[in-house]
Amino acid sequence: MKKLFSTQIVIPVDSNSVLQGALEVKHLLEETIRTYNLASQVSVVETGALGIYDQGVVLAVFPDDVYYGNVTPSDIQEIVTEHLLKGRVVKRLAIDRSLSSRRMVEKETGKSQQKIVLRNAGLIDPQSIDEYIARDGYAALAKALAMQPGEVIQVLTDSKLQGRGGAGFPTGLKWGMVAKEQSDEKYIVCNADEGEPGTFKDRLILEGDPHSIVEAMAIAGYATGAHIGIVYVRGEYVMSIARLKKAIADATAYGLLGDGILGTGFSFNLEVYRGGGAYVCGEEFALLESIENQRGEPRNKPPFPPQRGLFGKPTVVNNVETFANVPPILLNGSEWFRSFGTPSSAGTKVFSLSGDIVNRGIVEAPMGTTLRELVYDFGGGITGGRHIGFLQTGGSAGTVVSERELDVPLDFSSMKTSNVSLGSGVILVASEDVPLLPFLAEVAHFFWHESCGRCTPCREGTLQVKTILDALVSRTADPAALQRLSRLMNTFTNTSFCGLGQAVPLAFESALRNFPQVFEQALAASHVPEASAESV
């Protein structure tokens, strides 16, 4: 096994940091460390994105927990001689927007921070199975294999883990359904087709800790009696795919995948399939169709995937984040997991903060964290000291809310109790400078572009919604436009074939509820041009 060093310098190497010179910085750093004969004490580790995106090339020094930002090759000499040799932090480069400063925030707000999903991301070399193992990696799999499959499912059920993709279906229940099906073949599928606008957490998990998914899927296979796992990763996630493939190869070489895992009779193999640019493939049946080399269109429910899924066989489909929760739950127990979160929603949620917010990035916070905490404590407030214009939570298939909702605790019940959706954990902040209607027109454009076209309400309805929003933006809406919009919302909810269409109203209905004046003003200011009045 690889030796663990006393000091680790973690450098995020992802598609974006490479462009800012991360690789040059890394090579120079390694060279300088060798020059000063520090190679036996200091290791340089490539990691996935740290969730800090606006500080150029970032270095993190552990265990000192110091972060440097906007590092250029000319800074390396100073970092090595000052920090590594003399133990003095290079203040000039140190950044305040580090994970450690967030921890400070949490202390002040009285929240206990426990990273469950992101326990390894940014701390280990995601390409090193040894480092994963050194942090209890694959211990949960070993533990599971010593249990009865039913016991594994019971732990999951007791933990109250719910699906993190947005729907919140109880994971233990889903696994139990698949386990009890009699079938010659069953499948474990990981939905890594992250496409909900504003969501980028799964990329971070896959790039930063791919083994956590490999391990969790093997556990799911053992618990349900499946021997084949498939990770469906969106096609743009080139680095996620590469790291996942390496993780699968390494795990196979270590006997943690393949035949007779850890000397037991259990066999499990993993494959990676890629998406091709279709949001609807995040819908579980559309995703399965895509794996089957079909157009990514949903199927009718019931039957559900646990009964008849991939190739007609019982199938577990879980989101990346859901799987990432599984090994810690098995290791620490269901009670431990339930100690985080709220009565309705156990554990943590990985939130993706984006838009006009100071600290854009990924944070993992307990279920029940309020919007205000996310925006101001974790997110550092609005850029330029501006006010909030509006927020969208949960993604494009989520609610548009105002400052009035800032104190709503976000969990699986917040949609029901407060009309604020959790969805995939998107917190998109728009400042007062962002006009609402063009934004909603973009949301409408998004659904129109991503509708698969199978069913009438979604195919034709998204086109009509887009037309109405565009007319409101250009102040050419006719007086009946909002009445039509409202009829359309009902038909999406009532008759859309799948979750995509059924979720279209969330943004528009909430925007109408929370910002009625914006629509009224646009309508009042509208003049229907003659040509289009005729066609209406």
Binding site: N300, C455, T456, A480, N494
Partner: protein, 592 residues
């Protein structure tokens, strides 16, 4: 196995329905409620696309689709709530918003499912504006079918019929969302891809998006030309279906009225394709006998269905040697008319126009095949014709629907016409020629002749019940005086594919195979009247066998006009002259 019964409530009343029923089936069979559908086609197209059949089910947030949702114990279904009516209406409105409004002039003006549904649901206003800015180009590449994508409502019935029933897979949805269309590969058009022209897609299309390439204007034109001798031939399956177009009961034998109506339209001679069906039996029957006696390639596979021929040429070029070299009855008719009959009557073949009325859209393609100019070659030397004067054996093909439309245009009261006979000599036929119109008919007709020729005995019983019926695949062993003859019949190309794959592998146990492109054979052809009766093929088949039973002559070789044409013109069946005029060749299209 005993079927479990479930207790359900439909609109407040209690019913017991079998487990496994859909809400649609349960409502129809037990509550007498016909839930409207637009895209649904039982067992073939179950897409849940249109969103019209939605119902209220207690305890569900949305409105489930009745076509796909199975009933469950204790389910409470409401088919007529305000929410349901509004949802159905709005989905139809959404379809209409982007649908052309040329209903007056649309081919489907009288029988459009979309129009009917809008009327049924009381859609009196479309609140939504047209949101598409451009009309899509019409696919006008096929000799048989025309596709107007603007009228397509993306119900996918055509896609599913083409794939699941016919196993041709010439079309699929292309693109995504509101930009999606039903399309051929790279939108090359039906005429440029593996489409076999069967027209089954047209039969299931709920709107005017798929129509036949109409030849009505061409036919009116020649009918008005005093220099032309315009003769018409009618296929066997037409006479048992054309009455439907005039409100006559399904399964009416309208042979006499059809002959009268066509004569009223101005055709100079009203002949019968049944005559050339008898001729086909002579040629094909003797081909079978020859192959059996001389150890030729077996099984012999029939060749009268042009969709099947293109299918074989495209997907199974390796089996073309098994396929009978006989032309189809339509093409034999054209050739004989422009050679034998022209000679007999002393007519200039160039002045003869042959119009055929067919239950088939593929026949429009077949008549244009380059090898179907036999009469021209027959005359070329005799009359020193130049190459550019080449004419087709058959000039125009009308579907049953087109023929009916012309009769309507002419104001003829079809149902009340007195029955008339076909003209002689090419109007004389046997019952064997008639049953060509049903699946298994060619087989039975051939067996009647082959049996008697091979055994030199008279058949004790003419009806071969084993080869009748509408099942997609049938097989039988026929005892020919102690020698067993194993035969198989497939209708629908999906079924044909199964039999033909066996042949390709050299594993076919049969000596004679009949293939019909369309489910049910020609009576279910793509050129037939559109019908909502699920038993329509059965009704038409019954009429065909009644027609056969009522014929004084029921074996092709006993048709006196057939005997005469061999005596006076062709010589023997399969003679050199017969081969030259009545047989054809096929070519490998797999690389196209």
């Amino acid at each position: 196995m005993e079927m479990r019964t479930l207790h359900v409530k439909i609109n407040g009343r209690d019913y017991q329905v079998p487990d496994g029923s859909t809400i649609l089936e349960a409502a129809s069979a037990y509550a007498n409620i016909e839930i409207p559908t637009l895209c649904y086609l039982e067992g073939i197209s179950e897409e849940g696309a249109c969103g019209v059949c939605v119902v209220d089910v207690k305890g569900t947030r949305n409105l489930p689709r009745a076509c796909l949702t199975k009933v469950s114990e204790g389910m409470e279904i409401w088919t007529n709530t305000a929410r349901v009516r509004e949802a159905r209406k709005i989905n139809v409105e959404l379809l209409l918003a982007n649908h052309p409004t040329d209903c007056f002039t649309c081919e489907r003006t009288e029988n459009c499912d979309l129009r009917d549904l809008a009327s049924e649901l009381g859609v009196r206003e479309v609140e939504f504006p047209r949101t598409r800015t451009e009309w899509l180009p019409i696919d006008n590449t096929s000799l048989s079918l025309v596709r107007d994508p603007n009228k397509c409502i993306l119900c996918r019935r055509c896609v599913n019929v083409c794939a699941k029933v016919q196993s041709v897979y010439a079309i699929d949805i292309a693109g995504r969302g509101s930009n999606s269309t039903v399309s051929t590969f790279l939108n090359e058009g039906l005429g440029n891809v593996e489409c076999v022209n069967c027209g089954q897609c047209l039969l299931v299309c709920p709107t005017g998006a798929l129509t036949e390439r109409s030849e009505i204007p061409d036919v009116w034109k020649v009918l008005g030309d005093p220099d032309k001798i315009v003769v018409v031939e009618t296929a066997p399956a037409v006479r048992v279906a054309i009455g439907e177009e005039f409100g006559m009961p399904d399964g009416t034998q309208a042979t006499g009225k059809m002959a009268a109506a066509l004569r009223s339209l101005g055709f100079n001679k009203v002949f019968d394709t049944d005559f050339s069906a008898d001729l086909t039996i002579m040629e094909e029957g003797f081909e079978l006998i020859g192959r059996i006696k001389n150890g030729g390639t077996l099984p012999l596979i029939t060749s009268c269905s042009p969709g099947w021929i293109k299918f074989a040429e495209t997907f199974f070029p390796g089996v073309l040697d098994y396929v009978s070299s006989c032309k189809s009855p339509q093409q034999m008719f054209g050739t004989v008319t422009k050679t034998y009959w022209a000679e007999k009557m002393g007519f200039d073949p160039r002045k003869i126009v042959v119009v055929s009325v067919m239950p088939c859209t593929a026949k429009k393609f077949e008549k244009e095949r380059p090898e179907m100019k036999t009469a021209f070659h027959y005359w070329q030397e005799k009359m020193s014709l130049k190459d550019e004067e080449a004419f087709n054996d058959v000039d125009f093909v009308l579907t049953t629907r087109e023929a009916a439309r012309m009769i309507r245009e002419a104001g003829i009261d079809f149902a009340n016409l007195p029955d008339e006979d076909f003209d002689k000599p090419l109007g004389e036929s046997s019952g064997a020629g008639v049953i060509f119109g049903a699946t298994g008919g060619v087989m039975e007709a051939a067996l009647r002749t082959a049996y008697e020729v091979l055994t030199r005995k008279s058949l004790p019983r003419l009806d071969f019940e084993d080869v009748r019926g509408l099942e997609g695949m049938k097989s039988a062993t026929i005892d020919i005086d102690g020698t067993p003859l194993r035969v198989a019949i497939a209708n629908g190309l999906g079924n044909a594919r199964i039999l033909i794959e066996e042949v390709q592998k050299g594993e076919s146990p049969y000596q004679f195979i009949e293939i019909m492109t369309c489910p049910g054979g020609c009576l279910g052809g793509g050129g037939q009247p559109l019908s909502n009766n699920p038993d329509i093929k059965k009704r038409r088949a019954e009429a065909i066998y009644r027609e056969d039973a009522g014929k004084p002559i029921r074996k092709s070789h006993e048709n006196p006009e057939i005997q005469e044409i061999y005596k006076d013109f062709l010589g023997e069946p399969n003679s050199e002259k017969a081969h030259h005029l009545l047989h054809t060749t096929y070519h490998d299209r797999s690389g196209e």
